[in-house]
């Protein structure tokens, strides 16, 4: 499947969803003027990708790394980050393995806590990495 890529801007994160390299990343700042417009194509891509993975049959196991390295995100973005995680977690629940690395700047307790809250809400384990 063709990879998804969104260039980072001063208000929106870099989004790289690259199944061939088993690497997904959302990084930077997230306060787009219209969060729905920004995040919906990402959620649509994930939905299509899930269909493709699930079509490959029960013997196929997809493995990938999902990296979050956010400087900050606004409260509207938080809702969409949760949607992305919930959507991707459907693959994990079906036996695939997408692990999450949640990066936070040294001293940024709020970003660490935000990861912990999201992890609790989607009920899957994150690896927390300080930088």
């Amino acid at each position: 499947m063709k990879k998804f890529y969104a260039e980072p801007s001063n208000v929106s994160p870099k989004v790289e969803l690259d199944p061939d390299n088993k690497y997904f990343e959302i990084s930077g700042k997230s306060r787009p003027e219209n969060c729905r417009e920004f995040f919906e194509p990402i959620l649509d891509w994930i939905t299509d990708f899930k269909k493709e993975v699930l079509c490959k049959g029960s013997d196929f196991r997809f493995e990938a790394l999902l990296v979050f390295r956010l400087d900050y995100f606004n409260s509207s973005s938080a809702k969409f980050l949760l949607d992305i995680l919930n959507s991707i977690n459907e693959l994990n629940l079906k036996g695939h393995n997408i692990s999450v690395n949640w990066y936070y700047e040294n001293g940024d307790e709020d970003m660490l806590e935000a990861g912990e809250e999201l992890s609790k809400m989607v009920k899957y384990h994150f690896n927390y990495i300080q930088y």
Partner: protein, 175 residues
């Protein structure tokens, strides 16, 4: 305005009509100022996050109310202040009676409950969260209160039977 007595110094002040590009440059200005003056990462990021939520809230309300017509007497106001103990974000903007009711209920709740309950409420809203027509998810004020860790001070000054001038102060400890 502040429970602590030490005088506050204005770091950044904006008064006028807040359109998207003005909001964007205001946030950039705050980011730059905070990078220069605040070395404690958690405090710096807390201030930036709170400012973003505050000005995005104002912007969403301004878009709906065509705030330009109030600009002369009741302009959008944003001020970032500081002393040795804390940062204070002060905002003022016009809102309608419906928003006043919602904001007032939300802030009463926020100031009444503890941080744990606020976090639970945040998770509840985010889990069921529909993004409103205004573009927000109803989370902004809760996020502000969680990050600030202090009661949010606010007041409504009636303009006429429909509109009020809303004033809010958010205190962020330097620690």
């Amino acid at each position: 305005m502040s429970s602590k007595q030490e005088p506050l110094t204005k770091l950044i002040e904006f008064t006028g009509v807040l359109d998207y590009s003005t909001m964007d440059s205001l946030i950039n200005q705050v980011e730059e100022e905070m990078r220069n003056i605040e070395k404690v990462v958690s405090v710096r990021k807390r201030v930036i996050n709170i400012v973003i939520e505050c000005v995005e809230n104002i912007y969403k309300h301004s878009k709906i109310l065509e705030a330009e017509k109030f600009n002369e007497n009741f302009p959008v106001t944003f001020i970032l202040l500081s002393n040795t103990n804390e940062y204070v974000v002060e905002i003022k903007n016009v809102i309608d009676a419906y928003s006043e009711k919602i904001i007032s209920q939300k802030l009463n709740f926020i100031n009444y409950v503890d941080k744990c309950t606020l976090k639970e409420e945040y998770c509840k809203i985010i889990s069921r969260g529909e993004i409103s027509e205004k573009g927000g998810a109803g989370l902004g004020l809760i996020d502000i209160a969680i990050k600030s860790g202090n009661p949010v001070q606010y007041k409504f000054y009636p303009i006429d039977e429909i509109y009020s001038y809303f004033e809010m102060f958010v205190n962020i400890d330097k620690k």
